[in-house]
């Protein structure tokens, strides 16, 4: 039907906002002005300023089409005069509040339908809409704000707009605008509105608006996701593990892994792990590792160390243990030649990784090798085989060479050369290849070089001696080699231990829960199931069963599943202190590891003591605080009691004095002074008694339904002259609250007295009430100087002023007591900013059941 129009359809531009007051109308009018200045014919069809002066000023000199006035059920309403706008035929029409429902009897039920007509007529329209009015978001908005939106409009209307511009503002800024009174006047704010403008609500609405818009930008995402995206945020977080070798490329890897983690849509945890080889032959640089650890922690990740024989396996075990989804590894640093002989850690990891993604990251250190190949290596199987190989190849080669040169060399040189070969074999392969080589060499020498040649006989005794020496030297050298290798292994082991211990010390110093961190580190390092620090109960006497009596021990700290409850229950037990025992479950440790575990145990005892001390300090702090409070309370109470007492006594003693005769008016004034002071004293004493009853828990509540319209007037009467100016506006059909009549009165007296104290003389406080979600909220609003937010909670502590400094500006017992009483009645008392300046106390009380007056 639209296609057969002759005119081109107008364009719709929508300013979308998350909440009222973000500045949609303002932005729309700004746009209108811009267009008008460029010579476009702009009229305002309908603009709602809500009495906001900045917005009203923005209307400026724009041409406004007069609204149509309509009568509905005896009330007058104004609506956009659609026909007038159509007849005016501007190029652009400004029409506020697209979701508005027209007064019954209008041509269209909804304003967006009016706008469609304008568009069809070829008029461009500038409009505004709040996110909560979108039909698809209706239920989400209701969940967030607890308010059912009656005015909704189909998403398609907004979706089909040529431009949708988000008018965005942070919730905090919006609340500040609200506090300045730029959005609503103070008397407009009721329970529902107050709840609507909570930071949490506004943030959720803002998120909705941003998501909805993102959705429009990317049409691939369907509406369903827009509705449910808030919930989808809380999926399990992914974990990215980055493997560190201790080499300089670690930093590149960490940063790369952090980026991988950051790019994961739901965010990811970063875990760095360094695998110490259990043979200790790692050759890592501890300072590099320490630096990388700091880097990881500064990027929000955690640092871990595990011990394992095979790096790839240990790494994958760790990754599976922490439920990691991704591993970041450096590409091999070994040269090409080394890569031919064995698969690198990277390749092995990829092969074994299963469902875990492995990222092999290139870096500057690639192909540089770790460090010069070490000369002394342990006598592994491979080395022994090489020894045998060298013997098998070297001896024949040497024999052939010497046979060719037989005429130039003496027997002594031959033997020395063979001895050299045997030593070489010993250096490579240790004892057995060396002995084998020595025996073989002696036979070869015997057969080929000693006379008689080509026979296994030795004619000269001297040659026999040489052969024996030959064997002895070979054995001795290979033993030295073996010993050196063992020492090397021990040294490497010790350095691995030292590394672990350094980590232990570090973890105690860092962190808020040093004990748990320490135990976790121990569990990780040795691959245990659980590690538990047990503390013996002091009264248990020594006995044979003590080690297996669960009642004698209590858990001081534990990590891992299923902790051992007795020292006998674990695989390894190490004494940490006189009455502390560290119990490890999961596997039996090698004797050499025990030394490290003992160091752990000592540290654990220390960490436990440290935690206990911290706890004690933490409990001492509130005590000191309470002590300070009590002193302040005493000083303030004594001042507050003394001051009215002093005026009363001064007045009375002067009246009693017979030195002078006061005239009638002076006498009257003195009597009034005494009377007022005694009233004040009475109020204070009543409050003090209430407070002590409240604190002693003997308040004696008797809750009954009370209408606020019955509760408020007597309070104002009781407060007399000063409360006369207080404005009260209670809605006609407010539900009764469930409260104790006497206590409610005390609360109201204190709130009103407080408001009066801060009100400027020309702007008395006001009292209003409204209802929201089963609660009735009473607002006592003053227009005084207000209170900075950081002092809001302080205001509710009793006597939070400095001694006797200030009789007026300070807050005494009143608010503390009021909050206490409100909470005793199941309600709350919270402060809010009065829009435009001042403080509003919001007293929420449960509405009486079944009272729907």
């Amino acid at each position: 039907m639209r296609q057969d129009r002759l005119v081109a359809r107008g364009q719709l531009r929508i300013h979308l906002g998350a909440a009222p007051g973000v500045g949609k109308t303002y932005a729309m009018l700004e746009e209108a002005h811009r267009r008008a200045e460029r010579g476009t014919d702009v009229v305002v069809g309908f603009a709602e300023t809500h009495g906001r002066k900045h917005t009203a000023a923005m209307l400026g000199d724009l041409e406004i089409v007069p609204r149509r006035t309509m009568n509905y059920r005896g009330a007058e309403f104004t609506e956009m005069d659609l026909d007038a706008v159509l007849a005016r035929r501007p190029e652009i029409a400004v029409v506020d509040e697209l979701a508005h429902t027209n007064v019954p009897g209008s041509r269209n039920a909804k304003r967006w339908q009016d706008v469609q007509e304008l568009l069809d007529a070829g008029i461009d329209v500038l409009s505004t809409v709040n996110i909560q009015h979108l039909e698809s978001l209706n239920d989400v908005v209701e969940q967030i704000t607890g308010i059912t939106q009656r005015e909704t409009l189909p998403d398609d209307v907004v979706r089909s707009a040529e431009q949708v511009e988000l008018v965005d503002m942070t919730p905090e800024a919006l609340r500040r605008r609200m506090a300045h009174g730029n959005i609503y006047r103070a008397d407009k704010i009721d329970a529902a509105l107050g709840n609507y403008f909570r930071v949490g609500n506004l943030t959720a609405l803002r998120e909705l608006a941003l998501l909805w818009l993102a959705d429009k930008v990317d049409d691939q995402l369907d509406r369903y996701r827009a509705e449910h995206n808030i919930g989808a945020k809380w999926e399990a977080r992914e974990r990215v593990v980055v493997a560190l070798t201790g080499g300089p490329e670690g930093e590149t890897l960490i940063r790369r892994a952090a980026r991988v983690a950051a790019r994961t849509p739901t965010g990811a945890d970063l875990l760095a792990v360094h695998v110490s080889r259990s043979d200790g032959l790692t050759g890592v640089d501890p300072t590099q590792l320490a630096r990388q650890r700091v880097l990881v922690e500064s990027l929000g990740g955690t640092y871990h160390q595990v011990v394992g024989g095979d790096i790839a396996t240990a790494l994958l075990d760790f990754a599976r243990g922490v439920n990691a989804s991704q591993i970041v590894l450096g590409a091999s640093r070994r040269g090409r030649l080394a890569q031919i002989f064995s698969r690198g850690v990277g390749v092995t990891t990829v092969a074994l990784s299963g469902s875990i993604d492995v990222h092999l990251v290139t870096h500057d250190q690639m192909g540089h090798g770790r460090r010069p190949p070490s000369v002394t290596s342990a006598l592994s199987r491979r080395r022994r085989l090489s020894g045998f190989g060298l013997a098998a190849i070297g001896l024949p080669v040497l024999t052939v060479l010497l046979r060719l040169l037989a005429d130039d060399l003496s027997l002594a040189s031959d033997i020395l050369l063979f001895l050299g070969m045997v030593i070489a074999v010993a250096l490579v392969g240790g004892l057995w290849p060396a002995l084998l080589a020595a025996v073989a060499a002696s036979f070869v020498i015997n057969f080929f070089f000693t006379p008689p040649l080509h026979a296994f006989t030795i004619s000269q005794r001297e040659n026999l001696l040489a052969l024996v020496v030959f064997l002895l030297v070979a054995a001795a050298v290979s033993m030295v080699v073996d010993l050196a290798a063992r020492r090397t292994r021990e040294a490497a082991r010790a350095s691995a231990d030292a590394q672990t211990l350094a980590m232990v010390a570090g973890s105690v110093l860092r962190g808020t829960r040093p004990l748990t961190a320490l135990l976790e580190r121990l569990r990780e390092t040795f691959g245990l199931t659980s590690v538990t620090l047990l503390e013996r109960a002091p009264e248990v006497s020594a006995g044979p069963d003590r080690q297996r009596d669960p009642r004698a021990w209590q858990v001081a700290g534990t990590v891992g599943p299923a902790p051992c409850l007795t020292p006998a229950g674990g695989d390894v037990e190490v004494r940490a202190a006189e009455n502390l025992s560290l119990v490890l479950c999961g596997r039996v440790l090698a004797a050499a590891d025990r030394r490290v575990v003992e160091a752990f145990a000592a540290q654990a005892a220390l960490a436990l003591r440290q935690e206990r001390l911290a706890e004690e300090a933490a409990t001492a702090r509130p005590l000191a605080e309470a002590d300070r409070m009590r002193t302040a309370l005493l000083a303030a109470v004594s001042h507050d009691l003394r001051t009215p007492l002093a005026s009363a006594k001064a007045a009375v003693t002067s009246l009693r004095s017979d030195e002078v005769d006061f005239d009638e008016s002076d006498r009257e004034e003195l009597l009034a002074t005494a009377d007022e002071s005694l009233d004040r004293l009475t109020r204070l004493v009543t409050n003090l008694l209430d407070m002590s009853r409240l604190q002693a828990g003997v308040l004696g509540l008797s809750l009954a339904p009370i209408g606020l319209e019955d509760a408020v007037p007597p309070v104002l009467d009781e407060m007399g002259e000063p409360a006369r100016g207080v404005r009260v506006s209670l809605p006609a059909h407010l539900r009764a609250v469930l409260a104790d009549p006497g206590l409610l009165e005390r609360v109201l007296v204190n709130l009103v007295a407080n408001a009066l104290r801060f009100s400027p003389p020309d702007r008395p406080p006001s009292i209003s009430a409204s209802e929201h979600g089963g609660l009735v909220e009473l607002r006592v609003t003053d227009y005084g100087p207000g209170l900075p937010h950081d002092q809001w909670e302080r205001a509710f502590l009793p006597f939070q002023r400095h001694g006797d400094r200030d009789n007026h500006a300070g807050v005494g017992l009143g608010l503390a007591l009021s909050r206490g009483l409100a909470e005793a009645m199941g309600g709350t008392l919270v402060p809010e900013d009065t829009p435009g300046g001042g403080l509003t106390m919001v007293l929420s009380l449960p509405a009486a059941e079944g009272d729907n007056a």
Binding site: L645, S647, A648, K649, S654, S657, E669, N807, H808
Partner: protein
Amino acid sequence: MTRVLVVDDEPQILRALRINLRARRYEVAVAADGADALRLAASQPPDLVVLDLGLPDMDGVDVIRGLRGWTNIPIIVLSGRAGSQDKVLALDAGADDYVTKPFGVDELLARVRAVTRRTAGAGETVATVTVGRFTVDLAARTVRSDDGREVRLTPTEWHLLEILIRNPGRLVSQRQLLHDVWGPQYQSETNYLRQYMAQLRRKLEDDPARPRHLLTEPGMGYRFQPE
């Protein structure tokens, strides 16, 4: 007419004091905070200041210091702070007397009279003063009982008695007495004071356990109360 400046943030107290002082023919000015008090004292210097220590804008002790910067007018502190530390602080800052709330109007007025008398009669020299049944001759430095017997006083006792007698009715702080009698380096040796005051009372009071003329203001100082 003696002009009194009353400084207190409590309107009821201001009202009661204003009525009382006016009825006794004092000229009264009132101030509700420290800044106001200092301004009023500077523009129309009063003959006496009655000052509350707990003021909304500044501490009363600072008001005392501010006044003492340029004037010697007597200051009577009127405060709800009953701790001796507070009193000593105020007296050391230069207050002449200290009355704790709640107070009897008569007592306050007596103190007002005492400090104004001192300042009014500062130039005069009093020859003899009666302390109970003893007559103290300040010129001849002798003390005689009504039966003509002479009472012997040590030089320190004399010095102490003379200071108190020359300030009749006025509170003299421990610190001032120590300073004037023993010297500036003595500040906290209040046990000396106790000892000498006890000796004076034994010599001059009828019932040293219940002195009527040489009074102790606990924690603050001593006062000579004439008949």
